[in-house]
Symmetry: C2
Subunit: 348 residues, 2 copies
């Protein structure tokens, strides 16, 4: 027995010098990660000229869930950016008014406040500007600023919430609708993902596989485009930087950011997708044709990086991406004030 | 001064004998009302063979809001029975899969547990049976029991909620989906309307006009069909008992309960609509063509009662009907578990 103890002690003694190395290796990865990524902190209290007040958030929540912002009275922001799901609709492309299909996959609303600009092509500078888009798009909510304002003014129960958010007077305006929705959306963040806990120093928050995936993610330069608090959403890159994706992933008619800037170099350029909650926001890419996160990683490796990743690498990166799923905010369903006989008749 | 006091005293003395009469008149109305109507109490703890447990309610809430119960992945129970609005969609008739219009106005889900049977024609005995209808209707959610079960089984996050609600084993069944939805819907009651407070003895809960309206409602026999806790929802009557309604209100192709019983006398027979929250559930009737509550009262007076009501009577009854708006339950939006690559592809 004594002998066994001695052997074990000797064995442990042999291992001892290795421990600092292992520790250092771990620390290196965390250090590297901290240089590239940020945990989700508090949402901003102000967006450009929009103070994010409790009254504005509450009104914004009502508007976000109110289908009467659409001309049919059936489609709300939440229809395509469903807070019960991943802040999106889980469909390849959005379905809107008259069952028309939109041109692109609905991005998640969660953490969108941390993106540099909104939409796949970054054509809206902020959430306020973004909110005005789908309300007016014929294939989405199919309304107009005039119809939205007329509808809200016809509903007496909206008077006080608008006054509380924007003061007395003629405050029921399309701009204020967008401001309130922005205020609510600023609260839609999902902190406390395993990766956030890791970045904050809890090294056990990631599994070994997830750490290997993180290492591969960094070493293979995924983080060149997918960095920061949202692991993306900050800058624009051609989809097919190295190798052109197959046609179903990159339909020729959608030239991406070219439609915004009208600059030849912006052909098929899109905003690098923010990767927070990516594991719960399939299908992937602007075309929404890939359902498996592993396949999405493979496509990115090929088209953007020209990187050879074996199955294990891909599994590891997918495992790491699963660590980006955060905690959704608890949202109580709003009590929407009733329409009146003055409310414009829904368009069916 | 003394003289004035004397005069007032004498005047009051003259009035004194009248007081019991006024009191009695008030009491009479309340007494009469209590014989016809009931305040909303607690919801039942059991519906036929379905125990209403917290786990079942929680699962039912998830399913109620989950658009993946539809084949498109876009339409949930809440789409047409919106808990933010009046538990309905505020549209003349439902819009469902492929933007198809349904044949009838979506009834409110609130307090539906108190109806004797479900749907405008009472073709579902209970909420459990009702829930199965729209999920399968081609013009609504357009799914099948098999697709619903395959979808839910493909989502690992539904395993535990089903086990907690129905025990271990093969409990993800279409029957259990309906049971859980029923359990949640049982909680969707709106107590504490002014009329409830009145029935419980608070005579100030109704305005004088609302009391006049209540009196007219009783005297004109509205309460013959619209009585009980839900002021309706208990029995069946031809729409056009006295005078046939105009064609837009009673489209000839929809023969109502005839399609259920196949009995000649059931031509154009419908369940008397429950009137709780009627002020916030326009448009009215199974055809959904009347938006103004006053107009709805006028139509009823003419078609069902052959009653002559002047404008004041109609205003009074409408005012009374406004006292039936209760307090909606506070519902936190559920966190729905994510789909997987095994989840059936949505049908677009």
């Amino acid at each position: 027995m004594k002998r066994i103890t001695l052997v074990i002690t000797a064995f442990c003694a042999l291992l001892l010098p290795l421990l600092p190395m292992a520790q250092e290796k771990k620390d290196d990865l965390l250090k590297e990660a901290r240089e590239l990524f940020e945990p989700i902190g508090k949402p901003p209290g102000k967006i450009t000229d929009n103070d994010i007040t409790p009254a504005k958030i509450e009104l914004g929540k009502m508007l976000y869930f109110d289908p009467r912002l659409s001309s049919s009275g059936l489609i709300s922001c939440n229809t395509c950016h469903n807070l019960g799901l991943g802040g999106d609709d889980g469909l390849p492309v959005a379905i809107g008014h008259d069952w028309k299909k939109g041109p692109r996959n609905s991005p998640t609303v969660f953490n969108s406040v941390f993106n540099a600009a909104q939409f796949w092509d970054g054509r809206a500078a902020d959430l306020k500007e973004q909110a005005k888009g789908p309300i007016q798009a014929g294939v989405e909510m199919n309304s107009t600023p005039e119809l939205v304002v007329a509808t809200l003014k016809s509903i007496p129960g909206y008077k006080t919430p608008f006054e509380q958010a924007f003061g007395k007077g003629d405050t029921i305006t399309f701009d204020n609708v967008a401001r309130a929705i922005e205020a609510f959306e600023v609260t839609l963040i999902t902190p406390d993902a395993p990766f956030d806990r890791y970045l904050k120093g809890d090294e056990k928050a990631l599994t070994d596989q997830q750490k290997r995936g993180l290492k591969t993610f960094i070493d293979q330069n995924c983080a060149s485009c997918h960095s920061g608090v949202n692991l993306g959403g900050q800058s624009y890159f051609p989809f097919g930087l190295v190798t052109k994706p197959e046609a179903k992933l990159l339909p020729t008619e959608d030239k991406g950011r070219f439609a915004v800037t009208n600059t030849a170099g912006d052909d098929y350029v899109f905003r690098a997708a923010p990767l927070r909650n990516v594991a719960i926001t399939a299908p992937y890419f602007h075309s929404g044709q890939i359902r498996d996160l592993r396949d999405a990683v493979t496509v990115m490796a090929t088209t953007q990086l020209g990187a050879k990743m074996n199955d294990k690498d891909i599994d590891d990166v997918a495992a790491f991406l699963n660590s980006l799923t955060g905690k959704k905010p608890v949202v109580s369903y709003p009590d929407l004030p009733p329409s009146t006989t003055k409310t414009p008749v829904p368009v069916q």
